[in-house]
Each structure stands twice: as C-alpha cells, then as structure tokens.
C-alpha cells in the first residue's frame, strides 16, 4: 500500500471509472461486474447473525483486522446489491478504523448512486454502510489490541 491509498483516493478512482458511463444500463452492468469479483464471506459468516438487516436482498458482512487496519469481506444473493457491496468493500476495506468511521463517502453522489444510500431503499446499502462504520468504531475504540473480531 502506498501513502496515497486513502479512502478519498479510492473514491476518486471509482468516480473516474464511473465517468465512462452515460447510460444507466452500462453503469449497472459495470456494478454487476464488480460484484462478480467479490470473494464472498467465509462459510461460518454466511449465517443470520452476520446478515445486514434492512435489505430486500441478503447481505452478509464479515469484519476482521489486518494489523492496524480493518478489513471486510461481504456477499449478497442479488447481483446489483453484490456490486454495490463490492464497491463499499473496495473503498473501505484495509483502511484504518477511524478513517472508516468518519468517511463521508461523497463518491456515491458523484457516481449517481446517492439514492441508494437513502434508508428507504430496499437494497439496504445504508444499513450496510452503517454496519461497516459500527464495526470500525468498535475496533478503533479497542485501541491497538489488534484482536480478531468474532
């Protein structure tokens, strides 16, 4: 990881990437493609306990740590949701807990996905982001113990 690998740097990359698409269909096809690259969660995390509430589709979120950084794995049974989830993992995973907890995530607006963050949207992206931030906040609260969340 280089020094410029911050959340806002990753957001800028995503915005640049999405600027290629004028058509909604192309944009969603790209989101779906992103989802296909998602590695999914470990089998013991594919349970109700690790499911994010408030999604019409199912989303599983697996938090962990690598050194001082928070890492996420995630999965969904719906293609678009999985793509959105992949996008969030790409932007947030492997970043310091405090940065995750504070990230304003303005890029969703820039790439025209702001509506997906509305709490009334059935995809539960808002719940997913909230859950990622909660895990991050919990981990930063624990200081530098560096333990595995379980």
């Amino acid at each position: 990881m280089t020094a410029i690998d911050t959340i806002s740097q990753r957001e800028a990359e995503v915005v640049e990437e999405f600027a290629l698409f004028d058509e909604w269909l192309d944009k969603y096809e790209h989101i779906i493609e992103l989802g296909k690259s998602l590695s999914g969660v470990d089998p013991e995390f594919r349970t109700d306990h690790w499911k994010v509430k408030g999604c019409q589709s199912q989303v599983w979120l697996q938090p962990g740590t690598e050194g001082d950084l928070v890492v996420f794995k995630a999965d969904s049974d719906a293609a678009i949701t999985k793509g959105l989830v992949a996008l969030m993992v790409r932007v947030l995973s492997g970043q310091p807990a405090e940065a995750i907890a504070r990230a304003p995530l303005g890029f969703l607006e820039s790439i025209g996905l702001r509506e997906h963050l509305s709490p009334t949207r059935a995809n539960g992206l808002a719940s997913m982001v909230k859950q990622m931030k909660l895990y991050a906040a919990a981990m930063s609260g624990r200081g530098n113990e560096g333990g595995q969340d379980g």
Partner: protein
Amino acid sequence: MSAVFSEAEIAEIRGRFPILSRQVHGKPLVYLDNAASSQVPSSVIDAMSDFERNHRANVHRGVHKLSQEATEVHEGVRDRVASLLGAACREEIVFARGATEAINLVACTWGATNLRPDSVVLVGELEHHANLVPWQILSSRIGFRIEKIPALDDASLDQAAYRALLERHHPALVAVQHVSNAFGTVHPVADMASAAHAHGALILVDGAQSVPHRSVDVRALDCDFLAFSAHKMHGPTGLGVLWARKELLDAMPPWQGGGDMIDKVSFSGTTFHEPPWRFEAGTPHYVAAAGLHAALDFLEEIGIGRVHAREQELLAHAHEVLGAIPGLRILGTAPDKEGVVSFVLDGIHHYDAGMFLDQMGIAVRTGHHCAQPAMERFGVTGTIRASFSVFTTEEEIDRLAAGVVRLQRVLA
C-alpha cells in the same frame, strides 16, 4: 382489443389519472403496482381539495354550518359503503385507518373477549401479515392456538384440509383473505364461510384485494367481518372500513378511548356510544371521506362489473405474454384470479429485476409482499409482482414483458 371498452374509452379513463402522464427515468410511467396502492383520478383529488377549501370543520357535535356539512360528507360515505357491501344497516360500517387497523380492531375487541386459552383460530397460509400478526400478538397474550390452512401448489387454499381442520379443532374464528395480494388467487370465501358456520366458527374476510376489483356482497358471502382500505380502490390513504354484523358489533367492547366514542363521561364511570361510533375514538379522517365519495362515484360510473371484466382481460393477456418467456415461472396459477401476476426468473434475484424495470419506467413490486409465510410455502424469498387496474393497457404489459426479456440478457 378489449371487449369491455373501446380504445377511446380506455384513453378517456387514463386521462382522468394525472399521474399516468408522468415520466420516470425519462420514460413514460408504466404503473403495475396497483395491489399495493391504486392511483387516484382527478375527481378524488379535487373532492378532497374542495372539502379543505370550502367545508373543512370537525364532524359531529358541531351546530355550525360547516360542521354540519362535514358531518354530512363523513356520515354520507358510511351510507354509500353500506350499500356497496350490501350491509344490513349503516351502523355495520366502522371507519378505521385501513384494512390493517380494521383487523386489529376485531382482534383487540371481539378477539380479546371471545378467545380463550383453549380456542383455535384458523389462518390462511397466504395471508398478508395484517391478517396473521394481530392474531399472533393476541395469542401471545391469551394463549390460543393458530392453525394454518395450507395452500396448494397453484396458490389456492387446500379446501379438503380446511374442512379437516374445522372438524378437528372446532375453531372460534377463521381469518382468511378473499383475494391473495401476493398471487391474485380468489378464494371461495362463501363456501368457506358456510363451512365455518356449520362448525360454530365465525369468519373474518380480508377484502383488501377483492372490494376494489369485484362486486362484494357481505350477505351473499355470509361472512361475519370484512376489512378493506380505500387507497387500493382509487381512494385516499388513511381510510379503511370494517364491516361487521350488527349483533357482533353491539356485543363488542370499545377499543381505543377518547372523544366521539362515549355516551356519558364522569370520574365515577363512563358509558359508551353505540356502534359504529363506539369504535371510532377521536377525530376521524373526514377529508378522506370526501375523497372516498369521489372514488365510489368513479367506480359506480365505470361499473365494478366492467372493472372486473377488463382486469380479467388484462390478466389473461399477462399470463399469455409472460408465460411465454423462457426462464420465467408464474406463481399463482389457480383458475380464479384477480389482476395480479407474480413471477420469479431463473437465476435472477427479484430485487435486481425490480431495479432494472424501474430504470425502464416500469413500477412493479418485488419482495415478499408482506406475506412471508406465503413466500416460504413456495420456497422463494420474494417474487416480482405486476398488478393491474382498470386503466392498465395491453401495451403496458407488453412493455413489462419486453423489459423482462431485456433484463434477462444482462442478468442471467
């Protein structure tokens, strides 16, 4: 194309619904979510607006002119609903917030006084949560058992199993939908009512999906309670109806307390108003009553028989064009259905499909349709549901079908 309306008539009917001229994501709106909420014609919007501008005042008790006018509107719609349903008298019509509140009212009053720990309530497997959860909440308090009337593979209810359940349990109540919101199935509630009565049970019919689409006569059905919502029949939100037989209402204790539902109040004791007002505590939604008048005018003018006939044409067309799409499976194939088509797509999540259709300007509902046990019965987490109205056209259904084929190419 339609044997019920000429093309000019269909265009004229559509012209009455301002929302149908909307664009969504740059495309003309195709509104196929009528089972969740139907749309309102201008006349309904105008009636409510006129009421607010010219007649608004609290109903009952007022001696001034505006209050009398408002009371006439509010009580007048009670008369019209009574005649719509073939009620024995206007006092059988109780206003509530919607079908949900109407069913909760029955649970909290009739249910709380008549159900005992050893009672049994039969509930259909396909019920909207509004006709299951109130009974579960009450059951957790009283301790009675809830038995499920199972559904068959075509999303009809297993009538043989129903008879056996009546024999075995002698339930106090049967709570069943007239029409399934998830699959469109019309259940034979008149037969189910006579079987229930023969076994000493009362029957509550959830009419939320039937009253807006077919002629419903409570005497012909011979049921005991019937609930529905105005917003599914081109009327306003926030207003629903409980119809109940007069003898039952007379014997039911009040539910919510407050203004309007009392006879005489003092600290040494309070006596209650007669039904239906006993069950209508507080200021009612009288503006919605003005809207419901106009919605009933609309349905009367078109004729509920023609609404039904037209929606049957649309249903047949939808089964034909959607049924021909490879990888699409329709859930709900019973012969008697209202204008609802629920389907799943091989390898495609209903949420993804709904998102794509939305981008094409097509409004369908995806998910469990507030009937999770029904979804479980068919082994799915949800479906894609298109539900029709008298203003729906074959072209709109064709656009849905084309949209499905297009999204299959991207998503499958």
